[in-house]
Amino acid sequence: MKLIYEKSQAGRRGIGVPKPDLPVPEVPDELRRKEPPRLPELAEPEVLRHFTQLSTRNFGIDTGFYPLGSCTMKYNPRVNERVVGLPGFAALHPLVEDDAAQGALELEWELQEILREVTGLDAISLQPAAGSQGELTGLMLFRAYFADRGEDEQRRKIVIPDTAHGTNPASVTMAGYELTPVRTDARGNVDVDDLRAKVDEHTAGLMLTNPSTLGLFDENIEQIRDIFHGAGALMYYDGANLNAVCGISRPGDMGFDVVHINLHKTFSQPHGGGGPGGGPIAVRESLAPYLPVPVVTRDGATFRLDYDRPKSIGKVRAFSGPFGVFVRSYAFMRAYGPALREMSEVAVLNANYLLARLKEAYDLPYDRLCMHEFVLSARSLKREHGVTATDVAKRLMDYGFHPPTVYFPLVVPEALMIEPTESEARETLDAFAEAMLAIAREAAEEPETLKEAPHHRPVRRLDEVRATKQPVVRFRFDEHERPSGVGTHQLEAPKGA
């Protein structure tokens, strides 16, 4: 379909602007805009149609099953969209005095209380904008904590298992730390021997996802805790997989000192094609003094933003955090109440059911019960029929499903990382399983069908290599060439997570 710029016609307008009967002050000539920006020019009906049409070329949870592993694509309750739009929330300026924001602050406070209970930790900062920023903030807290103890120069290393999400090592670099990788053992746990060899007085801490990105709960978590705490190091919990363990096992009780919670995963948030998210962190009391400002506090029945925290690392984002995200997640939590445990139970049940239905047809690298997700491999399909995880993913589209995450975690070749979440009905899981099984058969019988998939989407398979080699990252108006020529072969980058 056309770009909105290709529908533009000089002189059209999609919205009017009030024009007060007042003089417009002069802008000094050297500061005045010379060439107007070439924004689209369309009447309102055409703008709405354009984006409506775009939406029909997209697939969301509302469209169907979206088992994108590590992303926890659960149902987004519509009441959350309604309440986030209440003028008392949506029209609230973030810099009003606290007395004008008591409802917002109470909500933030209550959200913090629930997060403390779910994580088993003591203090919260709601500020981080997403999990990745939570990670970085957590590592900044590590540094502040050790600096306070005079150990910052000494402790420069962060241990991360090879199953970790890419954000973990990236955060390590951004925080100015060095990375110490650690292996995964034959059962899919962190290799404790390898770990023991690598943790010492230079270690600032660990970053761990538990259950891991393999969907497996680390059976040695208590040993791991002892190793780190024994070495005076701290432990960071990547909360991306918290959906597996709400009310079942708490990071604080596992020994972690800092946890980020991806509100947009465990506590439901419309992912909006990439975001927004929320990445609050929960910390042990010992790390609380370093939390970003402001911190939401309570004095009896009133709530306030506390900026007076001399040991604070500062700010990682504006204001107290992405408030609208808090409204939605708080609403989600209140819809469940203590049944948040049931949420995790069903997420795990759904995943194990799918696993049971699929493990004969695909390779299962670690044959254990899984938690909320599991990772299969298309290794045999590739070896036997030349069919890759990408081909399986693309073919799933033709069956009406969003593909799982592929090529992640990196330790599993031809990985297919499947997370159904608790939101799905058994019929949906069955239909997906049937499709996966049919695809495994097709791989043997008609591999070409898979390699050329998808066949029934608005576009056929796209050439990602070409996009990288000849980057066209904005419309170029008159000079814009209509593309031609046909793609060659596919990149195998992780997709999902």
Binding site: L54, R57, V96, L136, R143, L349, A356, V486
Partner: protein, 441 residues
């Protein structure tokens, strides 16, 4: 629980298929020592009607009926209804990062269109798909500049939004960067001071209009940075860019900003989006998602995430950033708003804000509230002296249903009597007259 589909019969059949006898057994890998054995101590579950009511009660405890002259980075602009209608399309609302492009042409094309709009606004060649907000994109820009120049100091003008400066300072140690601030002179920044500070620096960040609402001599600031081999980075308000020159037109290397004023509700500070655009030189150093054009098997145009070797999921510790979840939905809101406005609408919107702000500034001056920086041109925001602690002026005005602005003393010691007043197109002459009355009482 109405979000869950599994019936008791489903659960039993599924457990049987798995080969376990209870849900508890699914958790057998969780060591006993770390199991949570009691019920979660969280407030009880609410049905939807109870939930809505509870949230309505919370919302009612916030005060949103005072006429808003607060700005300081977040502005009370009108959000068109079409924006909400588009954002509520489930196919866009409930999708995630478009890793699988054939499932995601809607989002991908929208981001491509957004990138184009940001490039057009800022006069740049490339834009990412959004950053968290207007503060974090400043830290991102520093990271780009550090690696592009190999230098370890960044300069930020004191007239830049204090929260932007704070975030840059919080990130800087991890990046191995030192942060230097250049003070303002009477409300704007002296290019010579910038030139001096920029020597050996990776970047110079300044804001246009600056935090005081004043128009900086932006081309001169950019030139000063360029002279010193530092990357000039302009922090701009998208709503101003129909009227004010594009950073690309006066030599900036990067342009960043808070997108809230285009398309997003104030929402107590978020979620919003930060935008980040650059000259093409920096394309492979940019953080975050970038969408590119390509073709499918049959030669048909399509869009994909591109240049992913910059990103954490491929480059891990060598990535240009750790960002993954971003602010696409809010950026989409920005695109829709800008598409409705078009160039003409954007210019008119800027002019309306200027006209109303000009009227407010003049009326306040007439009533004895002098501008803090009387000779400086301003856009939609300006500072006045209230003749007392500005916080008292806020309290006094609020008693009359007016939230008159932001006390600059919060961030600028010595400016305790100064109030920063923002005027958007939503304000009326009548409301401004009430503001003047409330503040001059």
């Amino acid at each position: 629980m109405s979000f869950l589909s599994l019936t008791d019969a489903d659960r039993e059949a599924m457990l049987a298929a798995i080969g376990v006898s209870s849900i508890d057994e699914l958790f057998r890998d969780v060591p006993a020592g770390v199991r949570f054995e009691r019920e979660l101590d969280v407030p009880p579950a609410l049905t939807e009607s109870e939930l809505q009511r509870h949230l309505e009660e919370l919302a009612a405890k916030n005060v949103v009926d005072e006429v808003c002259f607060l700005g300081a980075g977040i502005y009370d602009h009108y959000v068109p209804a079409v924006v909400d209608a588009v954002l509520q399309r489930g196919e866009l609302l409930t999708a995630y990062t478009p890793y699988q492009p054939e499932m995601s042409q809607g989002v991908l094309q929208a981001i491509f269109e957004y990138q184009t709009a940001i490039c057009e606004l800022t006069g740049m060649d490339v834009s990412n798909a959004s950053g968290y907000d207007g503060t974090t994109v400043a830290a991102d820009a520093c990271f780009v500049a550090k690696h592009a120049t190999g230098r370890t100091r960044v300069v930020v003008t004191e007239a830049t939004n204090p929260q932007v400066r704070q975030v840059v300072k919080t990130y800087a140690p991890g990046f191995g960067l030192e942060v230097v601030e250049v003070p303002h002179d009477g409300g704007t920044t002296d290019p010579d001071r910038v030139r001096a500070a920029a020597e050996g620096a990776a970047a110079v960040i300044f804001q246009q209009p600056n935090f005081f609402g004043c128009l900086e001599p932006a081309p001169d600031l950019a030139a000063a940075a360029n002279d010193a081999g530092a990357l000039p980075i302009a922090h701009v308000d998208p709503i101003s860019l129909g009227v004010l020159e594009a950073p690309g037109a006066y030599g900036c290397a990067l342009a960043i900003g808070e997108g809230q004023s285009a398309g997003n509700a104030m929402s107590y500070g978020g979620p919003h989006y930060g935008f980040l655009a650059a000259r093409s030189d920096y394309i492979r150093r940019l953080p975050g998602r970038i969408v590119g054009e390509t073709v499918d098997l049959e030669g048909k145009r399509g869009f994909v995430l591109t240049l992913q070797t910059r990103e954490q999921h491929i480059r891990r510790e060598k990535a240009t950033s750790n960002i993954t979840t971003n602010q696409t939905l809010l950026a989409l809101a920005g695109l829709v708003h800008l598409s409705l406005l078009g160039p003409q609408g954007l210019a008119e919107l800027g002019e309306t804000c200027m006209a109303l702000a000009g009227y407010a500034r003049q009326s306040l001056a007439d009533a004895g509230l002098e501008p803090l920086f009387p000779d400086k041109a301003t856009f939609k925001e300006f500072a006045v002296r209230t003749g007392r602690d500005a916080r008292l002026a806020v309290t006094a005005a609020r008693a009359h249903g007016i939230y008159p602005g932001y006390p600059l003393g919060r961030d600028y010691p010595g400016l305790d009597d100064a109030l920063l007043v923002a005027v958007t197109e939503k304000r009326t002459v009548g409301e401004i007259d009430r503001l003047v009355e409330a503040l001059s009482r």
